[in-house]
Symmetry: C2
Subunit: 217 residues, 2 copies
């Protein structure tokens, strides 16, 4: 699938098109939130947007592109939120910063539960093109920036892998919780924090079969 296949057909300079794309995306969100993934069909989205299917396909080359646009929006919002937290917590302790990040992960998922879950699942299913890959990279970079601030305290060599791992861990724990219950389990945020802190602070010697193995923990 080529990159162009995932993008809206029309240039955003044309104001009418822009508004139409917007209306379609809003309709899509409505369908996903109110009626679920099963009802998320091209015809239904067009219907809710008040246009014909044919028109929908004038703005999006295929349904995948429509889904990708929704995911792109969510991801863009998340990038900004993560960057904001990193910047806001520059002067706080590692614990405080991670705590804010854990809270962000939870609130991002539970802010719009139906939508977030549906997009999670779609995101996995589809090969998502480079643009969305870029958002992930941006989030990883922001996280890496956070780790750099606390570098002195971290017994880690590969901060890039660490940043990626932390994001995967937080996301998986929150999604697993969201798949089972709503609202969030009371201890969720705390458990996420534990996972992140533990990953970062575990002394390397603690799992390097050495005689000093139990000195730290």
């Amino acid at each position: 699938m080529k990159r162009s296949q995932l993008e809206p057909r029309k240039s955003p300079r044309q104001t009418r098109s822009e508004a139409m794309v917007e209306a379609i995306l809003e309709a899509a969100v409505r369908v996903l939130e109110r009626e679920g993934l099963a009802a998320f069909t091209a015809t239904r989205v067009a219907e809710v947007a008040g246009i014909s299917v044919g028109s929908l396909y004038q703005y999006f080359p295929n349904k995948h592109a429509l889904t990708a646009a929704l995911i792109r929006r969510e991801q863009a919002a998340l990038v900004q939120a993560v960057e904001a937290v990193v910047s806001d917590t520059k002067d706080l302790s590692l614990e405080a910063g991670l705590s804010r990040l854990a809270a962000l992960a939870v609130s991002h998922q539970y802010g719009r539960p139906g939508l977030a879950s549906a997009l999670d699942h779609e995101e996995r299913r589809l090969p998502l093109g480079k643009e969305i890959e870029a958002f992930r990279t941006a989030i990883r970079k922001a996280m890496r920036g956070f780790l750099d601030i606390h570098q002195a305290r971290l017994p880690l060599q590969d901060l890039d892998s660490a940043a990626a791992d932390l994001l995967i861990i937080a996301r998986a724990m929150v999604e697993a919780d969201a798949d089972r219950r709503e609202p969030a389990a009371p201890g969720l945020e705390r458990r996420v924090l534990r996972a992140l802190m533990g990953y970062l602070l575990l002394p390397t010697e603690a799992f390097t079969r050495s005689r000093s193995s139990r000195r730290f923990l």
Copy 2:
């Protein structure tokens, strides 16, 4: 969706049926491994199994049930593998045991990469009935048993949540890696081990805004 909808139609006592179910499942695995999720259609599976679509539907009430049967198999194998590791590592250190569990997570995913990935994705998409939920519970229980052995060393109150979290973390890290590359990243197993160890060993005080915060790490 009722539980009965996810099970094969015929009793396993009828040997011919049993063999047929087996043949269909093998065909399904073949299609998934060799041709991918996109080619995994009822017609294609029937074709590879050498029967008509109609016959396929005599053994499985719907395609979902066929997928569920494959997932059930994988999960059953995984339950046994986890139980075996837990039992084999009864007398070893926490590190050694977790290390074996991390290795199991990686090898389970990479043992049959195409199949495992495809089933991962399907497993998320579908509401999977109680039987598969039971496998997850069994794995969680085995993990809980493992934690009980090392209880004295763990600064944790809720071992059930911990067991569930460890499984989610290991799985998410391995799947994220598998989605991006093949074979596994060289450091993957070690990173999974770090995540598990860190979660378990992090002193509770380390993230409870107390003045003793930095005493341990």
